[in-house]
Amino acid sequence: MPLTMTTKRRLVTTALLAPASVWLFVFLVLPFIAMMVFSVGERGPAGGYQTAFTFAQYANLPARSAAYWNTLMLAPVGAFVCLIVAYPTAYYLAVKANPRYRLLLVSLVVVPFWTSLLVRTYAWMYILGSRGIPNLLDMIGIEDVRLLNTPGAVLLGIVYGYLPLMIMPIYVSLEKLDRRLLEASADLGAKPVSTFFSVTLPLSLPGVMTGVALVTILLLGEYLIPQLLGGGKVFFIGNALVDLFLQSRNWPFGSAIAVTLVAIVVVVLMVAMRIAWRISGTRQVDLV
């Protein structure tokens, strides 16, 4: 029987999607199912996993409430501080910078990604440690300043590590900005500040939302920076998970926490997407 065009097209689509689907199934869906199964199990006497069907692990979640609380506080705060630093940078790159150097400047934002975050965070350990900035302060008479292993160091590390992820989406949305709208706003008598708040900022909100969602989600799973720059005293969900799997070997409880974390990420992502769609949707209508 000869294949019709639509059947052929479907087959091609299926063939093209197959690698990605298999990949997602094997490396995302299957592990997630395993995690769900583990999360209703019991810890073995020497650790690990024992088959069971119980929601005891979920009932025990309050035992890590401090870790959840720290994470749910840090993620938005970290994302907000990133935003405050990233927005002017992105604005400068997209609007003010000389177009001749723009590409160079944008690549400078991305260059740090060529080196592993672990190595860059270690570099911060030396900059903030006694032989770094405190040593320089000591020379001008300010003694015994401690920067490393403070909440400030963790925040600094987070802003440093995630800044490019915030700058890029905002830059992209500002770059698309139609300059004629700014001129129109000026012609109609708006001062630069009110033009910024009523034209530029609203038009760049989709980029802002993307950046905030991206950074927030990654921060929800952050482990390395608090461990290295916070001296292990700042404890997030990521750190709780590492300890549950590598120290106390409580796989079912770790799985329950991981499942809950995934659920939180999904909710954050859905809310962020809804807001971004609403903003971009209405703006598009306005522009037409």
């Binding site: 020497a46 035992a63 890590r64 292993n149 001296g231 292990g232 709780a240 106390s248």
Partner: protein, 387 residues
Amino acid sequence: MSKWFRENAPISARDLTEEFMRLKRGSVTRRHFLGVTGLGLAAAVLARQPGLFSSEAYAAEDLGSAMSLATWPNYHDPATFEAFTAATGVAVEVNVFGSNEEMLAKLQAGGTGWDLFVPTNYTISTYVSLGLIDPIDLAKVPNFDPKTQNTRFTNEGTVDGKVFALPKNWGTTGIAFNSDKVKSPVTSWKEFFEVAMTEADGRAMVHDYQLTTIGNALVSLGFSFNSVKPEELAKAEELLIKVKPHLYAINSDYQPSMRASDAWMTMCWTNDGAQLNRDIPEIQFVLGTDGGEIWSDFYAVPTSAANKPAGYALLNFLMDPQNAVKEHVANGAPTTDSRVLSLLPAEITGNKIVYPDEAALTPLEFGAAVTLTDPARAELMARFKSA
């Protein structure tokens, strides 16, 4: 590649590739391949080099070309592994860990690829009951001599009459402090926690390790290092949570912070104490007069090891007193083997950090197996870290 090299080579790169493809397809034999490419000759020549690939002791078994060891940070002399590779042709991949719990977690999860690893005394019975380690085939370790070992440190390697682990060294968990910065006397765990909240505020470190951090807090309150009694653990938790805001860090890798004077005082293992004191004399190491931990580390062979012949070869190599003595000089931990002790220089055997007086050891306790698997201690640690 320059021209003359190509002309003098036994076979050109293109011919080599073609022959290799023929070999893969099965159209030529391995013997033919090795013959025409010259690789057979090269291997034969190398094999005849004494001490390179086939020194007598290692000729009996095929050791492969690589093996994997799991151990602790700053715990070996890198030259030891270079010497082993030179003697056997086996390269040693070294993985380091921060706690016994982490090693156990990795072995329980499977697929570690370790051929030899270094567990601490209190974990061995658990490894045996979980079937994660092999009994040691002593015939493969002729360099080990049970008669020269100090059984006080080695008896936990034997479970139900079978030897499951051979001793590496023993040691203690004491207090290291920088005497330039900390002037108050620190001689006990009670004083450690007091000074951590006063003179060394913001500059003291505890391990990211339930056994020692909870254990030493218990000791400072007058309880046993190994206690799992709920009311005693509750008091230790109260102390740890009170101390936490004053700590510099919760981390078992304290050498970098102590060397940089970021931290002034830390919980410290003998070998790290000896290394720190050797390089920076103002960093002193003391044992708690109120107690603390005494321990011994062992070598064990995981049941899942992929290259057991090489694991045993390295074990036997390390049990040779001539090799072991270099390890002890480098890492600063005391030996369990009287043959090694007699080879050590006097400045090491006379070092009170490495070989303290017997009286200083009396209040110390060996870690107990129950702490490894006790959920209450694990949860306490999590509450302490997240507080």
